[in-house]
């Protein structure tokens, strides 16, 4: 497990996004408005630090939809604590996701 990453606004945004249910990489990218080159390294860092856990969705479900299984991320307990800290520091990031009540498959 890597060391805890430095808190930045982008990191807070990704953390908050995972918490709000944007669990796939591309969903996070679309919802947060950040670019892939920013989101993925943050996800890798969060995963290394044990703040999020990445896992593969069941193969059966993916097969039904005729695509490869996707990797999704969820917060750990430590991640939830970190999120609280992040929101105290950057309260505005919560607003990023308040526009949509629920995760949409694709943003326009």
């Amino acid at each position: 497990m890597g060391k805890t990453p430095r808190m930045t606004m982008q990191l807070a945004t990704v953390l908050c996004g995972v918490d709000r249910g944007f669990r796939h990489g591309f969903d996070l990218i679309d919802a947060s408005g950040l670019v892939a080159g920013t989101v993925y390294p943050i996800l890798r860092r969060l995963e290394d630090a044990g703040l999020v856990i990445g896992a593969w969705e069941p193969v059966a479900r993916a097969r039904e939809e005729g695509r490869p299984p996707r990797r999704y991320y969820r917060l750990t307990a430590a991640g939830s604590e970190k999120l609280a800290e992040a929101l105290r520091r950057y309260p505005a990031v919560a607003l990023t996701y308040d526009m949509d009540a629920a995760p949409s498959p694709r943003s326009p």
Binding site: H24, I29, V35, A36, P41, R44, G54, R67, R70, R71
Partner: protein, 879 residues
């Protein structure tokens, strides 16, 4: 659903960047995301085009992710893993690792150590300001050069403002430094006050000279050289202002020069200021005016030379020569020796590299199976390459580190064994500096990379198949040729060194055993100088030497002789013009190297030099009587062939008196061999003559007492020191050594080079042997099946062995042939150190060839034994 092309290829491409443990996951994640995004896309329309572009952009951005992972984990997981793996793999075969590291360490360490010496002597830029404009101004006539100038010359040069923009002068002198109960000799350079400033080197401590330091009546001051300051004052920083007694006068230390300041000819003990007008002889140092080259300046001076000819005592025909300071007068004499040592050590490095490459190749072949398995389990070719590369890099880094340590020790070792003249006259101090270190590191790393790659390429090609590597025939023919070529190259390089060191050994031996013309055994030589500040008049000096003579003669069991100058065989001579009565002068103007000595009456008896005809010197040969001389056998024959030389007269130069020959002595090597090589004339004019001490006027400079002792000459040393101390405790002994010791010392440069080169040769020969062994052993391993089949079909073991020995012999023959050519090329470098030995000395050539053949055959015996043991059954089982 329509597919969007291209992104899969991009992901696959970028995944190469991702550390391999995460690679599969990484690729799956990106492919899944992109596939999902693709599946979500509308079927057609403008929107579709936009989305396709968007998808591709997103696929591109996976590069950032991959690069980030590479950056974050690459160093830790991959390189760390690679290195660990390489170390483990090397540790499994420690013999290979040790041999490979040792050969590289020897090469790198040796090269760094030798180059630190060569760099100091030849290459490191001199630390003087605008050194390319600095030149010594020497008057010359024909081949005879006289570095000495008179005050009048100095004034002439000072006026040449168009040619020189500054002119300073200096001269060397022996002084006596005395203190409570001790006296020692020191080399002082007397310099005009502006000289050190002209050279532009600031003092390490204190200050350099100013004009008023040389004025009459000023406080006597001295600047210490770094080595004197270190050895006599323990590098004391508070030395400035201390008094020091030089030639009986108290001087004040005003500065210390740094170690790099070695003008004019290497290390000086101290520097004292002098007014050029008070010097009878001096060397002039000038800075050439801006915009003039050395050649242009010399051309302009040619016109002024006429002015020199008005300087009557010197005679006509003089010209001016400019010696640029950057030419390093002494060091350039040692240049061939230096270059030869560099070449020898480079040979060792090259052989080492060749051997390492060979070893790597053997190893790669031997590991073919392991690599094939790795390949089959999914290791990519790149990965296999990297495995090999990292392994050779690990070896190179270890070897580089150890090599630097060896170089560091080597430089210290060289300081101990190098001839004093190398250390004293080197224009720079021996040290490993950044450049040498950089060269060593570059060598180490490039060796590793270069030679790690070749076997790695071969291994990775072969590694793609699980078939036994020894059956793989792709490019084995090329590999075989390369390896045979490498083995022959090693043999040739070793042979070159063998022949060269054989020649050096023969030369040193023959010189050591050569008849010097007198009996050296049991002879003790003691050099000393009557300190001029205590013995100002010639009579006082004569009395001093006579007193020392009497005291030495009083030592029981000792016979004493006295001569001026240095002991025989260590002498020194300038080219002179020789004129003889009754002889047709066919060699007009040609200078002769004519060593001579003023000797006391007992000289010939004590040294055991035969007087062939005439008489020895006697008490009647004093100032006022007819000037006489004894010539040696060769000079007598040369001047008056077939005639009786007794009673005939000759003279040296126009201004010297005629000398009447009273006797002919046996030939003696009066000069060191080195000087002979330097002289412009052939060794045919290596003559000598003697004058009586009683007829030399001023008795200045060094004198040498020669003591014939019974038994061990060195044992008389303490008694000799005590006898001299009784005469004058303030008279420093310059040198005390037995004559056999001096005979060995005069070859110190040759012996130094020989010792190092012998070491390099030994290493090169061992490496070459290992190389041949490696090639043949590899061949046997590869041909196990073939040999087995042959044996099964009835071939005797004799034929198998004969085949291998024949190959070993072929390598030796090819190597020896090429090596002789190499030795001929190397001869140019060592010619200056060879006496009476030509480049094709049969004994050296035969010995070297025999040795290299023995090494090659010995190297092929091991593989031959293994081949004999091959049983047909086992051979068939080898996969």
């Amino acid at each position: 659903m329509r597919r969007v092309g291209g992104w899969r290829m991009l992901i696959r491409l970028f995944s190469a960047l991702v550390p391999w443990i995460r690679r599969a996951d990484w690729r799956a994640e990106w492919e899944a995301e992109l596939a999902w995004a693709e599946s979500e896309m509308p079927g057609s329309g403008r929107r579709r085009l936009c989305d396709e572009m968007h998808l591709r952009m997103r696929a591109m951005s996976s590069l950032v992710d991959a690069a980030w992972l590479r950056y974050r984990h690459g160093r830790v997981t991959m390189v760390g893993q690679d290195v660990r793996q390489a170390v483990r793999s090397l540790a499994r075969r420690p013999a290979f690792a040790i041999v490979a590291v040792l050969t590289m360490v020897l090469g790198i360490g040796g090269v760094s150590a030798i180059f630190s010496v060569v760099d100091a002597m030849l290459w490191r830029p001199l630390p003087y300001a605008e050194v390319e404009r600095l030149a010594q101004v020497w008057p010359v006539r024909g081949a005879a050069a006289s570095p000495a100038m008179s005050e009048a010359d100095y004034e002439i040069w000072r006026q040449q403002t168009g040619v020189f923009d500054r002119v300073e002068a200096h001269t060397g002198r022996d002084v006596v430094v005395s203190g409570a109960g001790f006296a020692e000799r020191a080399d002082v350079e007397l310099v005009t006050p502006g000289l050190i400033r002209l050279l532009g080197v600031p003092a390490l401590l204190g200050r350099t000279f100013i004009e008023s330091d040389a004025e009459p009546g000023s406080v006597p001051v001295v600047i210490l050289g770094a080595s004197w300051w270190r050895s006599r004052f323990g590098s004391d920083g508070a030395v400035i202002g201390r008094p020091i007694e030089i030639d009986g006068i108290e001087h004040q230390v005003i500065g210390v020069m740094p170690d790099e300041f070695r003008y004019p000819f290497g290390v000086n003990d101290m520097y004292m200021p002098v007014d050029a007008r008070s010097l009878a002889r001096m060397t002039v140092l000038a800075r050439i005016a801006p915009g003039l080259t050395v050649e242009a300046a010399a051309e302009r001076l040619a016109g002024i030379s006429a002015a020199l000819e008005t300087d009557q005592p010197r005679g006509v025909g003089w010209q001016v020569r400019l010696h640029p300071v950057s030419e390093r007068a002494f060091a350039s004499q040692a240049k061939p020796a230096m270059l030869f040592m560099s070449a020898a050590v480079l040979v060792v490095l090259l052989t080492g590299c060749v051997n390492t490459a060979n070893l790597m190749l053997v190893r790669a072949t031997a590991r073919g199976r392991e690599l094939a398995v790795r390949g089959a389990l999914g290791a990519t070719r790149l990965r296999l390459l990297r495995l090999q590369l990292v392994e050779s890099l690990v070896l190179a880094v270890i070897a580089g580190g150890l090599g630097i340590a060896v170089a560091w020790l080597g430089v210290r070792g060289l300081l101990v064994i190098a001839p004093a003249s190398f250390i004293t006259y080197s224009p720079g101090a021996f040290r490993i500096d950044g450049r040498v270190l950089a060269v060593a590191c570059a060598l180490s790393l490039s060796t590793g990379i270069l030679f790690g790659l070749v076997p790695a390429v071969v291994a990775s090609r072969n590694g793609r198949s699980l078939i036994a590597p020894e059956r793989m025939s792709t490019d084995t023919r090329l590999v075989k040729r390369v390896r045979a070529g490498l083995a022959i190259a090693e043999m040739a390089l070793a042979m070159t060194l063998l022949v060269s060191s054989g020649l050096l050994i023969r030369s040193v031996r023959s010189t050591l055993h050569r008849d010097a013309g007198f009996v050296a055994e049991g002879l003790l030589t003691v050099s000393l100088t009557a300190p001029e500040y205590r013995y100002r008049e010639p009579a006082a000096r004569i009395a001093f030497y006579n007193a020392v003579y009497d005291h030495l003669a009083a030592i029981p069991g000792v016979e004493v002789a006295l001569a001026d100058g240095a002991p025989p065989t260590t002498g020194f001579a300038f080219g002179v013009r020789l004129e003889a009565e009754g002889r047709e002068s066919s060699d007009d103007g040609q200078p002769f190297l004519l060593p001579n000595a003023a000797v006391g009456p007992s000289y010939f008896d004590v040294l055991g030099i035969p007087i062939e005809t005439g008489r020895s010197f006697g008490p009647q040969d004093v100032t006022g009587a007819e000037p006489v001389a004894i010539v040696d056998h060769d000079l007598a024959r040369f001047l008056w062939p077939g005639a009786n030389p007794i009673g005939r007269r000759f003279r040296i130069g126009d201004s010297q008196p005629w000398l009447t020959v009273v006797g002919v002595a046996g030939n003696v090597d009066m000069l060191g061999y080195m000087d002979l090589q330097m002289a412009d004339c052939a060794s045919a004019c290596h003559f000598g003559y003697y004058r009586p001490l009683g007829q030399t006027a001023d008795r200045r400079g060094q004198h040498t007492f020669l003591l014939r002792t019974r038994g061990d000459a060195a044992a008389s040393g303490p008694a000799v020191r005590e006898a001299i101390r009784q005469v004058d405790a303030a008279a420093p002994i310059t040198g005390i050594a037995t004559m056999p010791q001096r005979l060995r010392d005069r070859l110190d440069k040759e012996r130094f080079v020989l010792r190092l080169v012998s070491l390099f040769t030994l290493v090169a020969v061992l490496l070459a042997g290992t190389g041949v062994y490696g090639v043949l052993a590899w061949g046997v391993a590869r041909r196990t099946r073939e040999i087995g089949v042959r044996v099964a079909l009835g071939a005797g073991s004799k034929e198998v062995v004969a085949d291998l020995l024949r190959r070993g012999f072929a390598y030796a023959a090819a190597g020896a042939g090429l090596g002789v050519l190499g030795a001929l090329a190397a001869h140019r470098l060592i010619r200056g150190m060879l006496y009476d030995i030509g480049p094709s000395d049969p004994i050296a050539l035969v010995a070297a060839t025999t040795l290299i053949t023995i090494v090659a055959i010995a190297a092929s015996l091991g593989p031959a034994r293994r081949a004999v043991r091959v049983s047909p059954l086992e051979a068939m089982r080898v996969d």
